[in-house]
């Protein structure tokens, strides 16, 4: 019985006050090993590997120095697989009831039952131009924006704010302005 209870702590979603410090631990481990926590850099590395350096000087750098970071990415994919297949139960995301009703009214069938809405990510809906366009535009915005801002949530919000860097504060304010505009004004127009 006690063992079951202990296991539930792992299988249920983890509370924010456990998760936040564990994310900081990822940053701390990388800094300990002489690296930095910055996931968006990998997108630039992948451009370079794909040969973008032939066209644009920005991509001319020793990508082999970034193999460690690509290894983190590879590990993260494995981590995602392990988490859903071995460390989870069927309990969905405990969303605010207001959020659920709101999303249902927008046409989302089962908010919180999966990690991402089937209405955007299910392979069946890829046949619909609208969904395909959402995925492509979303990716373009993330890839362009993070490089323009020189970092994303890991580099600016976690590492940059923890080290009191003003550029990161400006970037995070930008993240929120963009996110608020999308969630409050644009998503209701799309769905």
């Amino acid at each position: 019985m006690q063992q079951t209870l202990g296991m539930n702590y792992i299988l249920n979603p983890w509370p924010w006050y456990i998760s936040g410090p564990l994310i900081a631990l990822v940053m701390a481990l990388l800094l300990y090993f002489g690296k930095t926590f910055g996931m968006s850099s990998n997108l630039r590395t992948m451009c370079t590997i794909a040969g973008a350096g032939k066209f644009v000087d920005f991509f001319n750098f020793r990508w082999k120095d970034q193999i460690w970071n690509l290894t983190v990415v590879f590990g993260a994919i494995i981590g995602g697989y392990i988490a859903v297949n071995f460390l989870s139960n069927d309990i969905g995301t405990d969303l605010n009831p207001t959020t659920i009703v709101e999303l249902q009214n927008m046409g989302f069938y089962s908010p919180g039952e999966t990690l991402v809405p089937n209405e955007i990510f299910d392979l069946d809906v890829l046949a619909s131009p609208k969904t395909l366009i959402i995925l492509v535009i979303g990716g373009l915005l993330v890839g362009f924006g993070t490089r323009y801002a020189s970092g994303c949530t890991s580099g600016h919000a976690i590492t940059g704010l923890s080290s009191f860097q003003k550029p990161s504060l400006i970037a995070v304010i930008g993240f929120f302005i963009g996110g608020l505009i999308m969630a409050n004004f644009i998503l209701p127009l799309i769905f």
Binding site: W16, P117, I120, G138
Partner: protein, 137 residues
């Protein structure tokens, strides 16, 4: 072998982000609608723990693997690039619900259409590289 530690850190990162629900599209939506404290709690406690760690490093209590001071690279000064770049990323973050870490993690959870987002994000980074010298920074 020297990359094994980074593989393990990545695995840990992936597990934490799934279990914390930070990879959930719905959690990101809820955050930007101010309908839940969850994501603010995660980001807030991550920053608080990060500050504690970096202050301990600054005082020399925690050192890096070589026994020297932990170094956090400084971001260049600037305004336009951070605010405009930040807004553009934020728009994408709330649309597809992922930042550049979770897009890979969700692929691992079996969300195959994330491949499209990743390829588009790589292309978005390429477009930035193309336009870099013409953009205000």
């Amino acid at each position: 072998m020297k990359f094994l530690k980074f593989l393990l850190i990545g695995v840990f990162f992936g597990i934490v982000l799934v279990k914390s629900e930070a990879v959930s599209w719905y959690r990101i939506y809820e955050m930007f609608r101010f309908q839940s404290f969850h994501m603010y709690g995660i980001i807030g406690t991550a920053i608080a723990s990060g500050i504690l760690f970096l202050q301990l490093s600054k005082k020399g209590i925690i050192k890096n693997i070589n026994g020297s001071k932990i170094h956090v690279p400084k971001k260049e000064d600037g305004l336009v690039r951070y605010i405009i770049g930040g807004i553009i990323f934020g728009l994408g973050w709330a649309l597809v619900g992922v930042c550049p870490g979770p897009m890979y993690i969700l692929l691992g959870t079996g969300v195959w259409s994330m491949v499209i987002v990743i390829v588009a994000a790589i292309f978005g980074t390429f477009i930035y590289g193309l336009l870099k010298n013409k953009l205000p920074h």
